[in-house]
Amino acid sequence: MNTINQYYAGLDMGSVSIKAVIISNQKITGWALIPSGGNYKTAATTVMTQALAAAKIRREDLCGIGVTGLGAQSTPFDARPMSDISCQARGCHVFFPSARTLIDIGGQFTKTAKITDKGKIADFLMSEKCATGSGRFLQVISRILQVPIEEIGELSLTSQHPIKFSTNCAVFAESETISRIAEGAKPADILAGVHKAMASKVNMLLKRIKLAPDVVLTGGGGEDAGLAKAIGQIIGHPILVPPNPRLTAAFGAACLTMETTSG
């Protein structure tokens, strides 16, 4: 079936932000990203409206909507919720067909997955119910250091002497960070230390699923160059990052919807 000029939407209702992507023939024609806020339904409607406007199409032009993410059950649209790990894998496969291992660092969890040559899930592991395994850890440290979250990656790369955190708990790491600031540690060194601690946690998950190259990093963590470098160093493989890695799950949801709708 010809899917050119047919439009599909993918909606990723995450804990930190909601993302909407419009695609036509596996190409992104419009997208939007807004904070999730306190009302998932309202936010989903708003972000979809913005994405449709960016793609310059109307809601009626959509052939299907796929929805994923922790808030997927709250979707206001007629769309079947899909596994976000599967959506991430599908999205990564389009950008990097050689990808066999996926790392998704989101606001709530870190997810790792082995993916097949068809972009499907072969095995997966999620981090525990623990903030140090998630992007929330970075948000906490960014707030303490008063460095905008989008700048922490570049700053971390300038570090000469990364500090070593003596804890793997976000709550204790917060107080430890404050102590290190008081001792005169540089923000870059603190951030590099945080990145190393997170990379170490990711590495534990990857060892358990037996990583295979190529390795792709998605989610908010993918926008953090310091984190990508730390993970690459500890696993000994280069890290691939798709363009706008926070959109990969929404993009994958749209692609999967296109495949299932168009047969």
Partner: protein, 436 residues
Amino acid sequence: MDTQSQVKTTAVKGTDTAREVRPMVKDIYKAAHEARENGKKVAYMMVASHYDEILRAMDIVPLPTENYAGLCAAKRDMDRFLLRAEADGYSQVLCSYARIGLGFDSLRKELGHIPEGSPDGGMPLPDMMIGSSAICDPRFKWYQATSRYLEAPTFSIDVVAPPPQADLNRVRDYYINYQKEQFQGLIEFCEKQTHTKMDKEKLWEAIRLGDKAWQLWYDIDRLRVAIPSPMPSQDHFSIMVAGHYYTGTQKAVDFYQKLYDEVKYKADNHIGVIKDEKYRILYGGGLPPWHTLWIFNYFESFGAVFAIENVYRGFDPVQVPSHVTDPVDFLAWRTWLRATAYHEKARQNSGNPTVEKLLGIIKDYAIDGVMFHACRSCRATTVGQTHIKTELGKYCDLPMMQLVSDMVDLRDYSEAQWKAQIGAFIDALEARTDQE
């Protein structure tokens, strides 16, 4: 307790017989209360300790405290007991079954009566407490700690099992003799509490009934190799009540005979748990999430049925040699044979008896994927679980998933995380089917 806030925790069962279990659970506590009123002895006890028949033979009413914790979780009435135990100084990583039991007894002591609204009328005060080292360490120490809250004589029995690498022929007699001494010590303790001598004929009769029930239970599980699955794991977590809490009684035998007949009929007539069975899942290990048993139905909504499980029927029937004519010797031999059933296979292959057992199940039951439940406060079933999953992965290429929460402590559970994992697991099962 605000009974208005009770939420659904249970699963829709696959068999009619499993629906008859709830009154049996209520009767456990009712029987204990009645026993206290009628001057019969009641014992706090640990299931799967291989000593159940001794209590039955001595007319001691068993009161399984772990089961009560599971019941509280199923009723979502566990927090007050957990928090009470933690306020008394017990760590949040101590077995949550134990925390509920300790919290219950602590509250009762303070109030001077059973805490109001306790599930199924609560547990009466015991006349004695019989701990056990079988399976885990809190079961050995729990009742010693309970002595803070109530006065009842305590006996903890040691139940031993050799490591898989042991030369079984060399160590067998030492283990069996030691185990016999342990059972003998328990019998002497019970005789002292009841002022009655053990009647060996009554013990033989309890053993005969116990073994008959467990044989039927095993036969039922063998019927579950049928495709589609005639009985799911959520039923197992109900019907185990007969095998563990009515061991050595005719009631357990009758129950399993009825269940056997129903499961056989379903297997013979290809009546499955769900209409369109796509995937057969093995519950690979870990105690069940008593707080959220409906999760099994959630899997079923994707066509995935839990065909079999590896918990709460920890051993298959064994053949005790015919030269064993003393019932206490028989119990010691049976304990040994149960504990070493997979040792030989393990030595020849993976080195791990649990892995061998799971590999056999995967083959026999045509399993498509394996799910483990890591319980934060259950060391016995969680420590080593990741290792077992990894080892299993060396011998079979199946999607496997480890869900994390606790058997009763809801604070360790995240519904959103579970659903995200289950979604990916189902996709992995589907991808594997596509490849085939």
